[in-house]
Amino acid sequence: MPAVPAAARHPRSAKLAPVASVHACIDIGSNTTRLLVAGLDGDGLRELVAERAFTRIGASCQTDGHIPAETVAATAAVVAGQLHSALAAGAGEVVAVATAAVRDAPNRDELVGAVERDTGLALRVLSGQEEARLSFIGATRVLAEEIPDPVAVVDVGGGSTELAIGTPGGEPAFAASLAVGSSVLARAHLHTDPPAPAELHAARSAASEAFEGLAPPAAAGALAVGGTATSLHRIAGRDLDLASLQRALELLGSAPSSEVATRVKLDPERVRLLPGGILVLAAASGCLGLTPAIAHGGLREGVLLELLDRRASEGA
């Protein structure tokens, strides 16, 4: 697979030019709540502001998946803060979406209600298929260079992992959402810091089991997006072959997460979640028979590009 130009991976470094409109996406995930404010025009999307807060919905959930009241309130407050930032950056439309941890919670309506009431935003809880589709669109449409066709996009999240395959820039021909992610494995198996070999073994088995029976169509290349993938860039390089994933696991297992976090300049919470994410990525690579390359873009970009398409079709 050809190398991705640095400017394509980091749109912030792109030369600034006026944009037609500025919009924002707030994405409530299992580990984090993230804001992307981007300028949109006929050519696509340019990142203007990005924020992240660890809202830890997945980790805070009770055993039956209920989101505790304090997490509901804290998440709504984070969304309100990010809405402030979006407005300050000049965003006109602000779209809010939620993924696996909210989707699977029996009391998701409480969180939806709190966010909608406190901020006025309409919160769209995405299905697994929608999440996979939007991540695919976001990943394949923000890259400037040629992408293999068909391409697989793997989005490892905290509460789920999405896999989509299709022609870059188009709608995916295959989309699947699996109930495994970095937070899911951390909660179920990785209890010590750093994780013990036996815990990693159990988590590896769980990750492999999640992909059992999945038969995706063949792809010519693969892209990895999401928090796990972008954080891995610092410690594993851009191409996530099994050897680099194994080296990253060894590094993460060499000391407590706070120490490793200082060493690799990542948030300690992210470092604690990375082993689970790496094991899911390794399982996804095995399932696809491909080495994923880390790519910029994903769900939030996909949501904003879909908005751009919708507004364009309304104006047509």
Partner: protein
């Protein structure tokens, strides 16, 4: 348009202060319930419903003005009015876009570009209105308007108890 919720206990024999408290409590709850998803420009009725609910709350505050502590009442009425104004900023382009879209749909392809440009300008106004509304909504939440309205309602009830 959402129908106004009935106000329990509001009847000719009710004490004025109790009626004031009940009216403000119910009308205030309606306003904040309609705040849900009000920034979604794909469903413009949300703004309309919240705006109507805000008008009903203002009417309740004005009709029962004598039941409330003067200074607090004046301040809260002004805040509710500011909220109503922000909703109006969004509502005006909403309505214009809806009507012009209907007109555009009845026109031939050759006549549409002119009206499409107008709709585009109104869409920009709609987004400006959304920005204003979003800022006001966040302010309303941060300064605890809902709680302070509830407190105002309670003060009318307490005053009624003292004077009865």
């Amino acid at each position: 348009m959402a129908k106004a919720a009935p106000i329990p206990g509001l009847e000719p024999r009710a004490r004025f202060g109790d009626a004031a408290a009940a009216a403000v409590e119910i009308r205030s709850a309606e306003v904040f319930e309609h705040a849900r998803g009000v920034l979604d420009i794909n469903d413009i009725e949300r703004v309309h419903d919240m705006r109507v609910a805000t008008r009903r709350l203002r009417a309740a505050l004005e009709v029962f003005a004598t039941c409330f502590p003067n200074k607090r009442h004046r301040g809260l009425l002004a805040e509710v009015k500011a909220l109503a104004d922000a909703l109006g900023e969004r509502r005006d382009p909403d309505v214009a876009i809806e009507e012009l879209t209907k007109v555009a749909n009845g026109l031939g392809a050759a006549e549409r570009p002119g009206i499409a440009g107008l709709i585009e300008e109104l869409h920009a106004e709609q987004l400006d209105g959304n920005r204003v509304l979003a800022g006001v909504l966040l302010g309303v939440h941060e300064c605890g308007l809902e709680d302070r309205l509830a407190e105002l309602a309670r003060s009318a009830r307490a005053e009624q108890e003292q004077t009865s």
